[in-house]
Symmetry: C2
Subunit: 425 residues, 2 copies
């Protein structure tokens, strides 16, 4: 996406009432966002009989009808909308189509329109010179970088792509001998390895939290501690074995979906070695964390809890790994037993002292507007604490099963990583 250079200032003389969303393609005037968070969508579908807007929880809770103006333009203005990134699309006479005026993002297992709604506190601020910078937007300081790699997986039999974030300074001559810890960070179901960079703003989130840009706007982010310099690796969470599959199953398989059965084996057997020989990493469990959102959170738990020799830090953002009272029926349908600290994940939580000595951080977050997952998080965190498991719990106020929750989770999670680990320089 692009970024606002000057934001909406409705109070300024002659100011625009609304400006094109930063997620629009260049020169596209719609959708437009207002200073108060309203959004106007407008498309030219002259032959359509009905056009409805559908999309993420924070944008609209159900389909919203657009009105036609007689010249083939369909328009709707939503009331003030939850800030952050929302997927959306139009239902045109039963056909789901993207907005030609917006960028697309990989979600719902296909390319899908997306819109970024800025924080109200950002309105009238100047991203370039003002001290108020969203924690997921570019900043005037030194920049980290994103790297794209392709690697061939023997386990899956195909080419896979991963993205790697390196922090500011990684390529500086004064850091030529520095080694960095690594966070493996996964996307959600229906998304891919581009999610954290395109929807999430991973490089800006990490830059800001590493540089300690704590003036970065907005109460829940302000005051965040500075994170250690680290590498972040984002792989594709879908992976199935090519024939013949390895004789020895990876222990993570029992906790992975059919379409990601090979993910733990690929991550630990192929991706980590590739990263460790390509980047200057701290190549041991002291310097390795794993986290993910939604499906990716469940995968992080599945892989880390069955490979504690390889990971010391674990994070799950809106992860669905725990069945809860409310979710018991769904869990049963998925043949997942209710969460129990005694038996789940092979009983890894049963020995609290051993677990607490090995796992330096078990971090669980969710948004309060994703009701079932948030309730599951509270219930199961309580269960774990009763079993004397040390963990950190976070509830992002008012955010749903959407990227704003996961941006905030990462912003809170990252500063807690690798604080105890020795980093060789």
């Amino acid at each position: 996406m692009r970024f606002y250079d000057r934001l909406i200032d409705e109070s300024a003389p002659g100011a625009l009432q609304a400006v094109p969303a930063t997620t629009n393609v260049p020169a596209s005037e719609y959708p437009r966002v207002y200073a108060d968070g309203r959004v106007t969508f407008r498309v030219h579908f002259p032959a359509a009989k009905s056009v409805r807007l559908e999309g993420g929880q924070g944008l609209c809770s159900g389909p919203v009808s657009l009105a036609q103006d007689g010249a083939g333009y369909w328009t709707v203005t939503l009331p003030p909308t939850v800030m952050g990134f929302h997927y959306y699309w139009f239902n045109v006479d039963g056909m789901l189509v993207n907005d030609p005026g917006s960028q697309t993002f990989f979600g719902y297992s296909k390319q899908t329109s997306g819109i970024e709604i800025p924080d109200p506190q950002l309105i009238s601020s100047d991203l370039v010179t003002a001290p108020v910078i969203p924690f997921y937007a570019p900043h005037p300081g030194p920049q980290g970088a994103l790297h794209e790699h392709w690697y061939h997986s023997q386990l899956t039999g195909n080419w896979r792509r991963c993205f790697v974030y390196t922090p500011p300074g990684y390529f500086g001559v004064d850091h030529a001998a520095a080694r960095y810890p690594v966070l493996y960070l996964q996307h959600g179901a229906g998304e891919d390895e581009t999610g954290w960079s395109r929807q999430g703003g991973i490089n800006f989130i990490m830059d800001n939290v590493i540089l300690g840009n704590v003036s970065s706007f907005f109460a829940t982010a302000a005051g965040t501690a500075k994170a250690k310099e680290m590498i972040v690796v984002m792989d594709n969470g879908y992976a199935t074995y090519a024939a013949p599959r390895p004789e020895q199953p990876d222990p993570s398989e029992a906790y992975l979906r059919p379409d990601s059965k090979a993910f733990g084996a690929v991550l630990t057997g192929e991706l980590i070695p590739f990263i460790d020989r390509t980047y200057r990493t701290v190549a041991n469990r002291d310097g390795r964390a794993i986290a993910g959102l939604s499906m990716g959170g469940s995968q992080a738990m599945a892989v880390a809890l069955t490979h504690l020799d390889q990971f010391s830090y674990i994070g799950t953002f809106s992860g669905s790994q725990f069945s809860t009272a409310r979710g018991a029926q769904a869990a049963a349908a998925a043949s997942m037993p209710p969460f129990s600290p005694k038996t789940s994940y092979g009983g890894v939580f049963a020995g609290a002292d051993e677990f607490n000595s090995k796992v330096r951080l078990l971090w669980m977050g969710a948004g309060t507007a994703e009701l079932a997952l948030n309730e599951a998080l509270r219930e199961n965190a309580e269960k774990l604490r009763s079993a004397r498991i040390r963990l950190t719990e976070y509830h992002s106020p008012g955010t749903a099963h959407e990227w704003q929750t996961w941006r905030l989770c990462l912003n809170k999670f990252a500063p807690l990583l690798f604080q105890e680990s020795r980093i060789d320089r």
Copy 2:
């Protein structure tokens, strides 16, 4: 895009007649490509009255109607189609929509469906183990990498993104002191800085040509000389000045479109310094080339010919910088005078000896199926040779104003770069 792991083999027992295109989103069965280059498109648009396929020159020369099957599925099979990457979309009752089954690519100033048609010689080959690898596909050797950077431009007043390719070995400890020459490489009109990586396959083209993977398939690429290790930088070609604009105009402005007037100033004043301080570059004209496709080719000429103190190598792929006899009317309409070696670009070609001593490579390519541009190339190359300007001319057989032409141009152009320059190690 993904890549074929096993390709279509219609002769194999029980073989599929066709396989999903590599450019499909995961699990999407359509479009499907046949071994002979035929393609079947199929979409579910139940409320549509008419559905037509439209797209790039190599895919279909005009709209092609799809037939409905009574259950809302619309299908068409195209006869054997030109290999390479083609943009396409559907016209549904006058509304232009993308194929939900395909990835999208930035073209035509918005997100647009794209399909990759493999070379007939690739059919039945095995990309992983077979020696036959397309020169724009991944290979079993060491991999280069792509890097994404954001930088703030004072000249335009906004954040800009660029992509950087580094060759295999760049990050190896044995190369820690190596410096690399840099090719600045631009996209075409309606595209952006993602074009060369997503549509073009820049990293695979460069890897293969640097590693000397001359077994890389297909006559026009086989036998290509090995290229020097180099960095490639891909920026956005659109750039206009923020107010107040600099008092001193950049000399390139006279030859740039209104929507890219600031491009030369940004490239030479902001991007090159950013790259030179971020990467281990040969930071002088001996180690600097510029090239581009279509609009980007014109921009490469505009910037290089007005900044010969900064560039020694120039390439234009299907560039429209030259008006020709056939194009004279269009050129006049664009107030561009007919090309003349005596007067064009401020008369830089008038002093052939000086030009030839400064410019180590002037390279011009086009596809023979893009008739007007190809003719313009022949005419103007002849004019330049008559004026004793040294140049290299390339005509890609049978390819149109599409990415296959530009992939081939890069494959031919890259090995000629920096062969004379001293690279400090």
